[in-house]
């Protein structure tokens, strides 16, 4: 009996740990004083521990990686396809390298530039299933709010109720988990801190900034309320990722289970 309980406990622990994947959509600075060309990196990783960097688009039935399904920006309500700007890279994590992408974008005009990437589902062998994280990130130019609060009607989406680029350390971020434009009640949300500097020139993760006192602090979690809304206090400057798990309508891919998740990244600043 003890053995059964132990196995079950271990299974739960590994399941929980294995779910802490985050599609990173990174740029160094989300609140720009003026328009400029920005660097973006797209990496499927574990942002706190960086214990493994995944190959984006990995499939179970072929060695060929599947292409990114969508990558676009919305600015003043206008959507622009950016898939052609993606250049495949080998991104070096602290433990291994994985296939990701680099891109550049001319964030020239004043206002919000709302980025969305929808990678192909990724085959996670340890779960014998696929994960697809539809990911948002917002860059603002010169302080004019335009698009950050737009609902895009994505299959899985976190609608921010706080501008994701204007958050002081110690304040909060509020969002609504949505699927195809409708709130998702009691959605399960995982939260991780990007615990490493990213070297854009080397396409590499730097060393860890902080150490978790215990595993519970690596991937934090909460449950949205009956309206899909959640609020989380942000204790440290840097990038924080929120992932609402399995909220999209697609639950199967190539005959295997699919978790279609919504991810949003927010950047927190110290008051100096």
């Amino acid at each position: 009996m003890k053995l059964i309980i132990s196995v079950l406990t271990l299974s739960l622990l590994f399941a929980s740990s294995a779910l802490a994947h985050f599609q990173l959509l990174y740029t160094p600075e989300s609140a720009l004083e003026r328009g400029q060309t920005i660097e973006l990196r797209h990496v499927f990783t574990h942002p706190f521990e960086d214990e493994h960097t995944m190959d984006m688009g990995k499939q179970h039935d072929t060695k060929k990686l599947s292409a990114v399904e969508e990558f676009f920006v919305v600015h003043r309500g206008e959507k622009t396809d950016l898939r052609k700007s993606l250049k495949q890279i080998s991104f070096k994590g602290n433990k291994n390298a994985g296939v990701g992408f680099a891109s550049q974008y001319a964030a020239r005009r004043m206002g919000d530039h709302l980025f969305v990437i929808q990678p192909a589902p990724y085959f996670e062998a340890s779960e014998d299933g696929y994960i697809q994280q539809i990911t948002k990130m917002v860059v603002n130019v010169a302080g004019l709010p335009t698009d950050w609060n737009s609902t895009l009607g994505l299959k899985a989406e976190i609608l921010p109720l706080t501008p994701p680029y204007a958050i002081w350390t110690g304040s909060t971020f509020t969002g609504v988990v949505m699927s195809e434009g409708q709130p998702v009640p009691f959605a399960e949300i995982e939260i991780e801190y990007l615990n490493h500097d990213i070297d854009l020139a080397a396409n590499a993760m730097g060393p860890a900034r902080v150490e978790a006192p215990q595993d519970s602090f690596v991937t934090l979690s909460l449950i949205a309320d009956a309206n899909g809304t959640f609020t989380f206090g942000l204790p440290k400057a840097g990038w924080w990722g929120f992932a609402a798990l399995g909220v999209g309508p697609d639950d199967e891919f190539k005959g295997k289970e699919l978790s279609q998740d919504a991810v949003i990244w927010v950047q927190v600043r110290d008051m100096k």
Binding site: M110, V141, P145
Partner: protein, 101 residues
Amino acid sequence: MEKLFFTPLMIMVFTIAAYAHTPLMACFDEGDGTVTCEGGFSDGSSASGVEFLVKQGDKVVLQSRLNEFSEINFEKPEGDYQAVFNAGEGHVVTINGKDIF
């Protein structure tokens, strides 16, 4: 009587709204001898029709207004200049030409 009461109330509301946010402007060099400036307010409201000036010292070399998209394009002056977004007292943004690129 209802209308007479309502109108001053609405004016008060709009006056408060107009002063409760920060004026914003960003400019960039188009690389073709012209400069584009965009204006707005921190609550996202339009700056269409707001006065826009280009100054060289105390001399105003261009006096115009932002268009329906809250922007303006003008020929880049020779030498030092300032782009000025003038939304009224306490709501002025000035950018030096040397900071526009």
